[in-house]
Symmetry: C2
Subunit: 389 residues, 2 copies
Amino acid sequence: MQNFSFSLPVQVFFGKGQLKHLSAAMEPYGKNVLLVYGGGSIKRTGLYDKVKDVLKDCTIFELGGVEPNPRVSTVRKGVEICRKEGIDILLAVGGGSTIDCSKAIAAAVFYEGDAWDMVLNSRSKAINKALPIAAILTLAATGSEMDGAAVISNDETKEKLSIMSPALLPKIAVMDPENTFTVPASQTAAGSADILSHIMEVYFGAEDTYMTDRICEAIMKTVVHYAPLAMKEPDNYEARANLMWASSWAINGLTNAGKAHDWSCHYIEHELSAYYDITHGVGLAIVTPRWMRHVLSDRTLDKFTAFAVNVWGCDASLAPYELAEKGIEALEAFYKELAIPMTLKELNITTDENFAAMAKHAVDFTGIGSISYVPLTTAEIVGILKQCL
Amino acid sequence: MQNFSFSLPVQVFFGKGQLKHLSAAMEPYGKNVLLVYGGGSIKRTGLYDKVKDVLKDCTIFELGGVEPNPRVSTVRKGVEICRKEGIDILLAVGGGSTIDCSKAIAAAVFYEGDAWDMVLNSRSKAINKALPIAAILTLAATGSEMDGAAVISNDETKEKLSIMSPALLPKIAVMDPENTFTVPASQTAAGSADILSHIMEVYFGAEDTYMTDRICEAIMKTVVHYAPLAMKEPDNYEARANLMWASSWAINGLTNAGKAHDWSCHYIEHELSAYYDITHGVGLAIVTPRWMRHVLSDRTLDKFTAFAVNVWGCDASLAPYELAEKGIEALEAFYKELAIPMTLKELNITTDENFAAMAKHAVDFTGIGSISYVPLTTAEIVGILKQCL
């Protein structure tokens, strides 16, 4: 087990009606609030009105229309409002995109220069100051409500990059599973694929970390158990609650404690959604099995057999490579059960024309070629992408 | 899943040589430090000198000799030093007893009245202020390094009671598995039994909480896997590291998120160690199988069969009650593998003369008769204790 630090100071209020705690929890941070949200579903569901009602003592400014892959242009708008109105705290009401956009705004307010430069420079110039953020989660997927990371897209340069800092960790997270009852089946599926991917990215890592690995399996089993149920019964509270809690714990630091990570599938998918604006979870589901078959080797075999047996209940007495393949097949069957498109063609990506540029960008801007569990060359990334067509 | 709140702001530094972070982490809290420790093993191992060395810029006062079941008389001594010397922060170097004692001191400093009155009144008069605490863990067992609870004994009145408050959560925890290499086999065994018990107390709870239950099983499997190895190979880093991390997560809030608890075995054991000053983990190991057989019923059966299959790998095709019994037998066999005495007679407790008074105290001062998963009467508690003789 490698050395690590751990701290999780976000104040979570989990369960039915927990919105009632928001006002008191936000109070220490100030009264000038920037309410950030997406396409307006929170208005249709009534959550918008409920939030305004519990915060009636606050002055609320608004930034709506955050995109599913949040754009730096929207971040810039948010920064402008924060500076002009002297915003004290950001309140993100939505899924990962809204929370990520809020995080980027919260940090960029203190950055001298353009928000995209902050993103580009965040590897060399660490982000260490941000406005406080509260989040009301409406989609179980990215785990952004309980981590210090955000992913931002630049639609002009076709780039999608992440920023990361303890300063970006939300101070408050209201997690009411009932707020996810209206999430459509396709988004429930994509969100579940995202959760699963966050765990697989660290489960397939260099070290054997017994407890961490068993916890990864526990959360993966939770997703496998409840995602189909949440799609069939959108208002099944236990299914929504378990998926929501799983989304947070998949990526809040526990599942990677003491081990190196991979994240190659995320790096590849970020290129896909930067170029084609596809749904992140769907892209991950398409890439992952192809990545798995590419990296399966004597070195990685034990990880894959443990995955097959402990997550999917495959027969441990099978020959190791056969067992590993059974686990990958079980994952594919699960994605298909969730009705996720399993080829890029189904997303209208029909040629490999951008794959070389995408692969080069991934190698240049991420750890995929160097620190990933199985480092990949540009040629290998192109090969994996071609398998996805 | 029930509603719950969750926050875990303790700053953990986990791994080899992490003591190097202590000075900078403590710095914001002040320079006047009360160093709290137990019987002096930290002097023999050299840890005491290392701590003094990294804190050479601080003024260090000392309270040594904290008992294995820490006494309120020692808490009073600590309070006196804190008040007299204007202590800024307590540094507990040891296992759960030392950290628990430090927590009680930290809170009692602000209590107008005697420290034992604070303990007795803590149910009606919540503890909401305490001096900051840093902990350097030297024994994987109680999880006190990452929770807000402490258990204090009163040797005059033969009482052992817990206090609980978010204010008691340590600010800093240095968790270096190498600091547990010198823990003797018997203490490694008792500590492992304590960890396991913390999880079983919440695993056997009223609700089905799928993800939480799977995580409980993951941590229980970790203890089962590594405790025998740590006893055989005291300097096996992976074994010590996994047990240490398991000790924290068994009781820091994740394993009981969203569900009601039991804690009956702890309540009964606290009476045993209050009367007979026995090792907590040993008392738990003796009580637990007897409690299990007493509460096994149609209502609790599913919990026991899941325990048998998912933790101990028992054959799921067995008839349910037979399967449940196999799980309990597997737990007993595990305790025996750890060479833990499995009867009270082996601890020189040979008569039932105090059992009625102990049972009455448990019912009067804990939730055992009311809010436990399976509430117990005094007669039932006496019955369980007699089974332990």
